[in-house]
Subunit: 342 residues, 2 copies
């Protein structure tokens, strides 16, 4: 009878505490005590249990444990693309903090698709993650309201949430851009072009704002012909540069709105004579090894991830204060490309 279903799972399933209990000839609760290192078990009994555990290859099923206890000890991370160095640094920082809180991380890439963001986020919620860190693709997050009302903590990074009140950890996009553009102004440039990303992206809008502010603060007028806002693809960049650097009043300097734009611009400039000054938002590896080195406004992906994760665990620890918005400052790194005169 007992023998029929004893032994470490004839068919498929894994041995359970019940199997271990039978094999060791003790009660289920005693096995639980040994597995969880609870005190008050006779050493000889514990020994028998350990033997059974090894023999059967038992490993506690944390899913069952989680269901009973209620805390899943896991968080979800939704970002645009883990393969992007900016986000992979951020991911690593989140992992690091989660580890310090004995929490596991579910991760997924939204590919800048709002539906995919929602799908991933809600899948994580169905798995009952305790918290979420989201780099939003969409601008409407009302779908998260019921989850947050039910106790799921959420921190948005890089871009704020839309339609709900939630914590956000952002870079100082406008301020950083202002500093970068001022740097170009100080070097004598008056025709400075701004090459941004899609105008619906929050960071792109903010950086454009910073550009405008710097130009206007210098007593100049913002020339719409000097502003280009679109996703950085080679062909589009080429045409934009043709326009910006040609004509009778060409731009003498470029501000690139993110590292993808910067790199696309660099690839295109290689084929041209005469280099405009260049400052890019976002640092990137090897920027210092190019000639000239590329001057950038560096943000801090590790800091963004760490700050967001720490804020999340603070919320999970009971912090019920109002939604916070934290802005991390940026840093101008002059390397050569931004220090040339018109």
């Amino acid at each position: 009878m007992a023998g029929m279903q004893a032994g470490g799972s004839g068919a498929r399933g894994r041995p359970t505490m019940k199997d271990v209990a039978e094999s060791a000839g003790v009660g289920l609760k005693t096995v639980s005590r040994v597995v969880n290192g609870e005190p008050g078990v006779n050493p000889a009994t514990a020994e028998k249990v350990q033997t059974a555990i090894s023999k059967l290859g038992f490993r506690r099923n944390d899913s069952a444990r989680i269901l009973r206890r209620g805390n899943t000890a896991s968080i979800g991370l939704v970002l645009e693309d883990v393969a992007d160095p900016f986000y992979s640094g951020l991911t690593r920082a989140v992992e690091e903090v989660a580890r310090g809180h004995d929490s596991l991380v579910f991760a997924g890439s939204s590919d800048e698709d709002p539906d995919r963001e929602r799908e991933l986020t809600l899948a994580f919620c169905a798995r009952r993650v305790e918290g979420l860190i989201v780099v939003p693709a969409g601008d409407d997050h009302e779908y998260l309201a019921p989850e947050m009302a039910a106790g799921v903590a959420a921190v948005f990074v890089d871009r704020p949430a839309g339609g709900i009140k939630a914590d956000a950890v952002l870079a100082d996009n406008a301020g950083g851009t202002r500093e970068g553009v001022e740097h170009l102004l100080h070097h004598g440039h008056r025709r400075i072009a701004f090459l941004g990303d899609s105008p619906q992206i929050f960071t792109a809008k903010e950086r454009l704002r910073g550009y405008r502010e710097a130009i206007e603060a210098a007593g100049l007028a913002v020339d719409a012909d000097l502003v280009a806002m679109f996703p950085p693809r080679a062909e589009a960049i080429r045409q934009a540069l043709d326009r910006l650097l040609g004509g009778d009043r060409p731009a003498t300097a470029l501000f690139a709105g993110n590292s993808r734009v910067t790199v696309a611009v660099l690839r295109e400039l290689v084929h041209r004579r005469g280099r405009p000054a260049l400052v890019g938002f976002d640092d990137f590896e090897l920027a210092d090894l190019l000639s000239p080195g590329v001057t950038v406004v560096a943000q801090d992906p590790i800091g963004l991830g760490r700050t967001a994760a720490e804020l999340l665990f603070q919320r999970l620890a009971g912090d019920r204060g109002p939604a916070r918005r934290i802005e991390l400052s940026t840093r101008l790194i002059p390397r050569g490309s931004g220090e040339v005169s018109p």
Copy 2:
């Protein structure tokens, strides 16, 4: 009585199917049917259930579902460091394939620490992931034998498992290096140095083997003075280059064992006069924009991740064949740095 614990969770917990059933005045099973889109529910009844779901903010608890059904629809990914572009590309590819199989991904970085690798892997097993994709940090994976015996599928990537038979998806490390070194030989170099990584890393050993084979195939003797195997840190690289490029018989060409070595070498070469030829294993962003462009032996991180994940899901689908070892070929990309004569 019933009212006491009805309503959508007064205290903390989330509403359950039971709550929805009570609120809608139907049976539990009917709620389950509606939630899971099972056919055969009276439209009017389904409507009532939907209303209750929205009102209470119900979302199915997938952890409970998983416990009952037995399939967790999740896999674990353990790698060295998500922040490394090589691994973040691989991660993205795994995510992509997992998504196609409706599976979620737990991810963690081992930091090249065998204990951390084991800890992460077993934590994933305790969460009952169905499969594992592991970039091993250690060389002993017997700890996984009970898990694999219990049905957990495992595929190793970039480096093979140690102590157990398991699927492995690798780059053609030796072959790729051979091709790179032969390229330098064809350009007339006879004193070619090899700068590898720590000799205990599988890929470093394999690439060194390829180097040796190429040198010997050319009828030359491997000069131990031309081989340097250590983690790529600036100071160590500087000293190695002093030694390799100085003296009376300096190396005229360098083969760098991975992209971190390549970049460290480039940073150091900037400060020196006279550039040796250079070929590096691993491609990296902007390699083409440096001057000269850096010739590399490119491996395919996306391909490694995709292949490993596809193999894993093949196993999960029932493939019980013997452990496989798949080698992905590499590709030499000449860009300038490797095409200069002594």
